[in-house]
Each structure stands twice: as structure tokens, then as C-alpha cells.
Amino acid sequence: MKHSLLFILLFGLPALGQNRFNPDISANFLGLYERGTGVSDDRTQSPHNGFALQEAELQMLSDVDPYLRASVLLSISQQKNSADYGIDPEEVFLETTSLPYVTIRGGKFKMALGKHNQLHTHAFPFIDAPLINQLILGDEGLNESGVSANVLLPVDWYSEVTAQAFSLTSEDLYGSGNSGNVGGLLHLKNLFDLTDDLTMEIGLSGTMGKNSLAQTSSVLGADLTFKWRPAIGGKYHALIWQTEYLNADRPGQIDATTHLSQAIVSGAASWLQYQFAERWWVQARQEYVGLTKSVGVPSENKTSFLLGFFPSEFSGFRVQYDFENLQGRGKMDQTVALQYNISIGAHPAHAY
């Protein structure tokens, strides 16, 4: 039934002669081959060694009327502890298009905690999310139902305040059993044009809400990004340096085996992306988990290198090599991953 509805949604309306009012429809899909000493051979785990469809995303985007636009993004991905795939509403929201200085959004969407958490999987700078994001926010990131107000402040540079109120379903961070509990988030983003070719973005964000133990969990985040793309020769060269820091306090969270506290953990990831030719990128990332931490959280550091080839703006092929040290594991884990990243249809522009 679910598949029939999807088919009608995608292909049925043009048959009825309504295609001029159809939403922009696109699909992204990511295929992965991974081989790592610390990666599971169990195909019910994700990621696992061998071939996998990492994720497929179906997106529909359209103006609703002169006041609103809507976006529906369905994610097809491997379900937790299963080799089967399922369809999940990754983002389904409406937002205002004609209010001065503010965009109001309602629905289910990625929360504005830091920068990386707001990216869809196909737009990740590396094949995987930073360790600290995975550890605190889980595989799906912080993605909740709620409302959001994004306010552009009336100053000479780009300064935006985002305030969000949302459900607390995230198993990894909140998992509040009481559906009446509401979480909150604030994000301040400032972006400066240092020159015509170079920008600097500084972001501060914080979220809090009740967790599964009826205590208050919170995360603070900071991000700093420099982007350089010259006005002359910018088709061929660009450089991005991005650093993100997250610090979580999850009172009551303990290791299930050792019963040691895992309440506090913080970590950072910093990466460089250099475009050295029209279709080629080379990238490096350094990460550390455990800058501050409770006794039950093992510290972890990881280094990644990536080479990306993009035949067009609609396709990409990337190879990534990681080496990772996890406290107490006693050896360094190494992973090689190959990924293709394909986009078809009328895909909307990515955020800067």
C-alpha cells in the first residue's frame, strides 16, 4: 500500500495532466562499499563490511500558495538491527515565504544544532558524520517534530537567530516518554564577507529538554567555517575549513555493562576540503571525542582522508580512508570506504 501511494504520488499526477502543478521531485541515493577492521561483518548492523545501499532520499518541494511552501523528504534506509530497508519521513515541513525578516517552519525537520546536523546524508562533506555527532545525536542526527522561527537581524552582516520548540523523541539524546514535554533550541549564526572571495561563519547553538529519566539533557555547540572561492578561476579552485564542537550533558546516562557514568561528553571535528580541479576535491578531517567526559566514556580520535571525483553536479564518487583509536580497544582501526552519490530530478540548491 505504501509503495502504491508512492507510485501514484510520483507518476500518477502527470497522467492526469496536472504536471504543471506538480512539486519539484528528486531522488538522491548513496551506495557504499566499506572494509574496516572495526566495522561489523553482521549485515543487520549499519555500517557493515561489504556492499550496501547507504540511503535513498525522495524529495518533493513546492509552493503551497502565495504564503507557504512545503517539502517532503522520505528516507529509505536500513532499519536498526535489521537487514531490511524501511521508509521514514526524514523531513516533512511547511514554511512561510512572504513574511518580512522571519521564516516560520512547522513539521518534522533537522534541528539547527551546529551546522553538520542540518545536512542531508548526500550533502555530508565526508562519507560518515563526525564521531561526536554520531555519539550524542545518533545515526539520524537530531531530527524532531516542532516549530521554528528563523529571524534575520537588521544589521549590516548576515546575522540570524533561530528559535525552535520540538518533541523529544531522539533516543540518543532525549527519548522522553512523556509526549507533553517540549524541548528548546537556540542558534545564532553570523557570517562575514572578509573579502569578495573569503567568508567566515561563526555559529553558537544550544538545546535542552527532558530525557528518558525525566532529567534535563542539554547540548552546546559551536562552529567556525572559512570558505574561499575566488571570483576569478572559481570554477577550478576552492577551499573550506570547518570546525565543529559539541558538548553534551545527559544526566543519568550510564554504560549498560560497567554502570559507569556517561553523562558528560564533548568532542570536536575539524576538516579541510580543497578543490584542486573542476571535478576533483581532496579532503582531510581530524576528530577527537572526550575533550571533557565522564569516566564511562572512552576517548576516541580519528583521522580521515578523502578523494572525490564529480563528473557533473549530479554525480560523485568518493574514496575515504580512516584510522581511528578508541580508548581501551588496544589497536588502531582502519577503514576504507567507496561511495557513489547520485542525484536525479529537480534537486533544490544546497545551503551555502
Binding site: T103, E201, Y236, F314, P348, A349
Partner: protein
């Protein structure tokens, strides 16, 4: 009381009379500045040295668009990769689609190369609504001046007559110069030119020049060795004497062609206002291109 209201309206109008216009391309900015004169302030998002297909939606553009009374773009999907983000991020109800502050000029000037039937990205980065590089045609840009003049007049009726007069003057000047440019191009005896991308289609169409080959094998796809061999073959067979490379592309590939065809002339040319230091007005752009054909650049 009525007098006070009228007085207040007049004072506010004179204090805020300058229309704030933002354009996607510097060519549109140049036209707007000339048509708007001192009643308009205009700025462009893209720079003249940038490929307009691939401008990044920098948040600073959103700040500028937030304060704009009018956003002028080409449309025809030229800016589809970045302009929707700028408009959404601007949070300015005056410039959203359907409002007088949103103007797309491309669809209003009879686009060329509108594909017929089904199109596929196997053909490269094709534009379903036609070739969007309309600013390279002086005649169409004359019409664009009139379209912009009419829209400025609608938004600022106090100066409507000035806008319309300036637009018609610009249109006439371009029409007069087009005849002279045609004579000069005819005098060169050059009839066929190879370019990197389909950027100059409108210029060639206006001046009766043929564009039988492109260094890109397909729109948006960089040159390959096999395709360059085919282009060299085409140049030899059709006795083509001029390559014009749009200056946001890497022109180094022309060395390979010159090795095989030493007599060919390769010109790296600006294709937008501000694309070179001495190109400030739209006429300067066409003059520069004519001189490149003449071999004077």
C-alpha cells in the same frame, strides 16, 4: 489634516525615493543603472568573471536582497542553482515570485534553443526553457532595458517618464551601434567561430556568425581528449580561424589546438560587464567582442 498627510507623503517619498535594485548579473545591473539614473541604486550578485550557472548563495547576498525593492534575474533556469536560496533567505516579501519586485527578463525576449520533446541530462546541463545567455545580444538587451524601465516606472511612478525615456534612448543607441558592429564583423570575413560553451549563441545569432563547435563535448562537461581531436578535425575541415574562450573557463586547452592548427587565433573574451577591467557599460562588452573578432584585443 489632508495637507499634513500630503506633506508627510511628499517628504517621505523624497527621503526614500531611491529604488534599491539587486540583479543577478552585472549586465542587468549596468542596464538598470543606465535606465534608473540617479533615482535607482543597483548592485549585482554575480561578478563579471564568474560563471553565472555556479554562483554560490552566500548569506551576504541574502542581506542585500532583504533590503531590495526589486530583484531582476534572467530566469530560464540560469540561476536555478542559487537564486531560490537567496530569495528564501532574504525574507523580503517584496521580491518573491508573483510580486512587482520580482522580474525575470529571459522568458520575455524570445529565447533561442528551446528544446523540443523530451530532454535528458545525458545531453549534459541542458536548459529546458532555452539558452539563458540572452545578455550577449544587444537587440534583446535593448528590449530588456524597456522591460526594466516599465517595471521601475510601475514601482516608482514619480519618475516613470524618466525611466521610459532612458530605456528607449538606450535601446536606440544599441540598435544604432548594432548596425555598425555588423559592418565591422562583416569586414573581417570571419563567419565561423568555435567557443568553449554555448555562451555566445545570441551574439552569433545577432551578427550572423556560425558556432559550429564547442570545446565542451556537452554543456557543463569539461573537454575530453577525444572531443578535442574531433574539434581539431572540424576546424581543419571548415577552415575555422578563430577560437573565442569565455574567460571563466580554463583556456589552456587551446594550446593543444594551436599545436595542430598553428594559424588559428585564440581569444579569451569577457562575456559580462565587469568581465574585464575596461568593461563598465553593456556597449563596452559588445565592443570588446567585436574587437576580439577583428583581432584588435
Amino acid at each position: 489634516m489632508k495637507t499634513i498627510i500630503v506633506l508627510f507623503a511628499l517628504i517621505s517619498q523624497s527621503a526614500f525615493a531611491k529604488l534599491n535594485v539587486i540583479t543577478t548579473l552585472p549586465d542587468l545591473r549596468a542596464i538598470t543603472e543606465e535606465v534608473g539614473g540617479s533615482n535607482v541604486s543597483a548592485e549585482s550578485i554575480a561578478k563579471g568573471t564568474q560563471d553565472p550557472h555556479y554562483v554560490e548563495a552566500k548569506p551576504s547576498f541574502m542581506v542585500r536582497a532583504n533590503r531590495a525593492d526589486l530583484m531582476i534575474s534572467i530566469g530560464l533556469d540560469l540561476e536555478v542553482g542559487w537564486l531560490p536560496s537567496v530569495i528564501q533567505g532574504a525574507r523580503n516579501p517584496k521580491i518573491v515570485k508573483g510580486k512587482p519586485g520580482f522580474l525575470e527578463v529571459g522568458p520575455m525576449v524570445d529565447p533561442l534553443e528551446v528544446p523540443k520533446g523530451t530532454i535528458t541530462r545525458a545531453e549534459g546541463d541542458v536548459h529546458p526553457f532555452g539558452n539563458p545567455h540572452i545578455t550577449l545580444d544587444p537587440t534583446r538587451m535593448g528590449k530588456v532595458a524597456v522591460i526594466i524601465g516599465d517595471r521601475l516606472a510601475e514601482l516608482d511612478s514619480a519618475h516613470a517618464a524618466d525611466y521610459k525615456k532612458n530605456a528607449l534612448a538606450l535601446q536606440k543607441r544599441l540598435a544604432d551601434k548594432t548596425k555598425l558592429w555588423q559592418h565591422r564583423i562583416d569586414a573581417t570575413k570571419i563567419t565561423k567561430i568555435v567557443t568553449y560553451h554555448k555562451t555566445l549563441t545570441y551574439f552569433f545569432d545577432r551578427f550572423h556568425l556560425e558556432n559550429p563547435g564547442f570545446l565542451e563535448p556537452k554543456p557543463g562537461i569539461p573537454p575530453t581528449s577525444g572531443h578535442i581531436i574531433e574539434i581539431i578535425d572540424l576546424i581543419k575541415k571548415q577552415k575555422i580561424s578563430l577560437l573565442m574562450i569565455e574567460n571563466y573557463f580554463d583556456a589552456s586547452i587551446t594550446k593543444r589546438i594551436k599545436q595542430e592548427v598553428p594559424t588559428i587565433r585564440a581569444e579569451t573574451v569577457p562575456v559580462a560587464v565587469d568581465g574585464a577591467p575596461n568593461i563598465h557599460r553593456i556597449d563596452d562588452l559588445y565592443e570588446h567582442l567585436v574587437q576580439a573578432i577583428e583581432g584588435k584585443e
